[in-house]
């Protein structure tokens, strides 16, 4: 009788082993993936990287306490749990133990705290030190606990921890390597950087000492930098690459016609608007409304953007933080009503002159959209001058304080994951990127409350009201949400792209 359970156990074990064998084989990395990207990441150091391509590589090479998932949702990475102190001023995060960096250094609470304190120190050249300032200071408690002693209550700290800037770097290695760390970051992710040739290619191979739950699925991932759209598409057409990002509208039919690849149109949180400088005529809500309802958004999305845009139904783009996002009824296209509103505000045909600043090549068809807007507004009797400028001039203009601005509006795309991050910096009186001069006491109160509270229900209510006020007040001419067009080979499986335009390769396999 006593033998039977043992025999059964052995048989079960044998069956399980047989079943497990193919799984183990399948888990081995196989296949090589080649990706044509339009821009060089410059650096892979999260301290100074601000580009989606840098994020995509960092997600493969580094770990975070949390990370953003396919819909910009927060998912745990190294973290196992978190909680706030009663006064909301200490955020405690517990993390997995026993993990290591690719150079063998332990990835423990001390390493995590050191990485955050490097990010928070402006003297390191961190471009995110200000954004993360509310995290205060990171302190290691034992092997598996990190405490953030916040400088102000922040109910959105997890969103900060999940952004790519907060990925964990090996501070010792970073100090020893200096700027070269940006080329070959030492992390704890499933891949390591094999080769980095600036402006040409970056290749990743599996991290041989990876000890986490999501090992590499590919034997190599090579990113080839090809800025010219036509050349990048040619690589996809010839089969030299498996994925080509940023398919231009005019190339979509050709890529769709290929028998080995297709175009995927994916949502992006890039919300592109004409941000108004609220002075003179533009302080009048009727004028702002006239500008908004005289824009044929559907026509622009189809006729100019080649369907690579979705007409805006709220200032905040999809994927910014969907559980807190609100959308509204689309604004009508009503030029007759717009003319009436202008007349009501005291502006007859030709009596109102406005200047807008537009970038060239920053957003899909930005110049053409500006020309379309110019025509639409001239058709309701507004004299519009479009200043189409290079990126440097544009960034200078849109970052000028409202009082010093010489123009009346500028085309800007906003794409920052997190509702607090996005709305506070754009609409709180006198801060950050609030270059419209927007000021609303109720919005300020709500943004302060929204930042402090950790209750998701309350946050939803607060940010819902903020979005409603902004939609009603119209400090922007709301335009469109960008769509991402990715050329993807049929052999590629499991490829995803986040709304912040970061490509995700964690689950990618290649079946040629």
């Amino acid at each position: 009788m006593s033998m039977l359970p043992n025999q059964t156990l052995r048989r079960v074990t044998l069956v399980l082993m047989c079943l497990a064998t193919p799984l183990a084989v399948a888990a081995q990395p196989s296949g090589e993936l080649r990706v044509a990207v339009g821009i060089d990441p410059d650096t892979l150091d999260p301290l100074t990287n601000s580009l989606p391509i840098g994020n995509a590589i960092d997600l493969l090479v580094l770990n975070g306490l949390y990370r953003l998932g396919p819909t910009n949702n927060i998912v745990p990475d190294l973290a196992t749990e978190h909680f706030y102190s009663a006064d909301g001023m200490v955020l405690t995060v517990k993390l997995v133990t026993g993990r290591h960096f690719s150079n063998g250094d332990p990835l423990n609470a001390e390493a995590v705290a050191a990485s955050f304190n490097r990010l928070l120190d402006p003297a390191t050249g961190s471009i995110f030190a200000g954004l993360y300032a509310s995290l205060g200071k990171a302190v290691a408690v034992g092997e598996d606990t990190v405490e953030f002693h916040l400088s102000e209550p922040n109910g959105h700290a997890l969103m900060l921890l999940a952004n790519s800037a907060a990925m964990i770097v090996n501070v010792g290695a970073a100090q020893a390597m200096g700027a070269e760390y940006g080329r070959r970051p030492v992390g704890s992710g499933p891949y390591i950087v094999e080769d980095y040739i600036g402006g040409e290619r970056i290749s990743l191979v599996p991290n041989p000492s990876y000890d986490g739950p999501t090992p590499a699925t590919l034997t190599r991932i090579t990113f080839i930098v090809v800025p010219e759209d036509g050349s990048r598409m040619a690589l996809l057409e010839t089969g030299d690459v498996d994925i080509a990002e940023r398919v231009p509208p005019e190339a979509i039919p050709a890529i769709q016609a290929l028998d080995h690849a297709d175009v995927r149109l994916l949502p992006s949180m890039f919300s592109i608007n004409m941000e108004l400088v609220l002075r003179g005529a533009l302080t009048d809500a009727r004028v702002r409304q006239a500008l908004n309802i005289s824009v044929d958004r559907d026509g622009i999305a189809k006729g100019v953007l080649g369907d690579l845009g979705t007409p805006s139904v709220g200032m905040v783009g999809p994927g910014t933080q969907d559980d807190l996002r609100r959308t509204f009824e689309p604004l009508p296209y009503d030029p007759a009503r717009a003319r009436a509103l202008l007349a009501e505000a005291g502006y007859g045909p030709g009596q109102l002159s406005l200047t807008m600043t537009c970038p060239t090549g920053r957003y899909i068809k930005d110049v053409q959209v500006c020309q379309a807007l110019q025509g639409l507004w001239q058709s309701i009797g507004i004299n519009v001058q479009a200043n189409i400028v290079d990126r440097g001039t544009w960034s200078g203009v849109i970052n000028t304080l409202p009082d010093a601005r010489l123009d009346n509006m500028g085309m800007v795309g906003r794409a920052t994951a997190g509702m607090d991050y996005t709305l506070y910096r754009l609409f709180y009186t006198g801060v950050g990127a609030n270059r419209t001069g927007f000021s609303n006491a109720r919005v300020d109160d709500l943004l302060r409350l929204g930042r402090a509270t950790t209750d998701p229900g309350q946050q939803k209510e607060i940010y819902g009201e903020v979005q409603q006020i902004i939609w009603d007040e119209q400090p922007f001419v709301f335009l469109w949400y960008q769509k991402q067009a990715m050329g993807v080979g049929d052999a590629v499986k499991g490829f995803e792209v986040r709304p912040d335009e970061t490509m995700l390769f964690q689950n990618v396999t290649v079946e040629r």
Binding site: T43, S50, P122, I127, R183, G198, S231, A234, S395
Partner: protein
């Protein structure tokens, strides 16, 4: 002595260039700190980055630091990558030079051969065909020609890779494309010069001595034609370095041109300043080399230097 004098004269020229480059680049619209910080940064964040980059220092102080960077490379670092500018340039320079030198050599050989063919076959179909091709070569924009070559040789025929620089095959199309204009220019030049000297007495003398027609053309006539071609080659080489911006972008080649484009886009002052200064050095060196080569080919031009 001639070389020493020319090099000594280049020093003040380079100093003037360095001042102009430094000053003009500093006036480029777009604050590097604003671009690095991103469009949602606060004034305080931008100020902290400006401070870190040393942009709050007076212009004169930064200029002196710029000059010191020429001798102490670790002082001059890229705003974007934090790496020494010298390292960034050293990594990209060989690629740009390979394409420029390769393009110039191909251009010289093809141009000389087609020029000779044109001169010897005046009024024939060969002459007409070469003339049409050279005119097309001179007038076609490099950008368009590059994309056309990718479409033909990479996408349709599949003979060559479309973009990148990881194998020698990747350099074929960029070299051929940059060679087009010099080849066409040399061809026209050689044809015109050959036609001019073909009836000269010294060639008849050579023929009367029993020298073969091939030797008359290649050694006596072509040598004189090459004197003008060498001067043009210097100018062409400089233009090719400048044109590398376009070629490298179209073919996804990581050279100095691409580095410069990226640097301008992000107002990476140190990269722009040192790159332009280096281009100025190249122009001076190329001019000097051209003069030396001309003196070697044409002994008459040596006289002023030996007085």
């Amino acid at each position: 002595m001639f070389v020493v004098r020319r090099l000594a004269a280049a020093v003040p020229a380079l100093l003037v260039v360095s001042v102009l480059v430094f000053w003009f680049v500093d006036m480029i619209p777009g604050d590097p700190a604003v671009i690095l910080a991103g469009p949602t940064a606060t004034d305080q964040e931008i100020a902290a980055i400006r401070d870190f980059l040393g942009l709050n220092e007076p212009l004169g102080t930064r200029y002196i630091l710029f000059l010191r960077g020429l001798f102490e490379p670790e002082l001059a670092t890229s705003f974007r990558t934090g790496r020494p500018v010298a390292l960034e340039i050293a990594e990209r320079l060989p690629t740009t030079l390979a394409i420029a030198v390769g393009g110039l050599l191909v251009g010289l050989v093809v141009g000389a051969l087609s020029g000779v063919a044109c001169a010897l076959r005046q009024g024939t179909l060969t002459d007409t065909a070469i003339t049409v091709l050279t005119l097309a070569g001179i007038s076609m924009p490099i950008y368009w020609l590059g994309l056309l070559c990718i479409w033909l040789f990479a996408v349709n025929l599949g003979w060559l890779p479309a973009a990148g620089a990881s194998t020698p095959a990747h350099f074929v199309l960029p070299i051929l494309v940059v060679a087009t204009r010099p080849a066409a220019t040399f061809s026209r030049l050689v044809t015109a010069n050959l036609l001019e000297v073909m009836g000269k007495d010294y060639l008849d003398t050579a023929r009367s001595k029993g020298v073969s027609e091939l030797r008359v053309i290649l050694v006596h006539a072509l040598r004189n034609s090459l004197i003008a071609a060498v001067s043009v080659a210097g100018v062409q080489f400089g233009a090719m370095l400048g044109g590398s911006v376009i070629t490298e972008t179209v073919f996804g080649v990581p050279g100095l041109g691409r580095l410069l484009v990226q640097a301008v886009g992000s107002s990476d002052y140190p990269i722009i300043q040192y790159c332009i200064l280096m281009f100025a050095v190249f122009f001076i060196v190329i001019n000097l080399a051209t003069d030396l080569l001309t003196q070697w080919l044409d002994p008459r031009t040596r006289q002023p230097a030996t007085r």
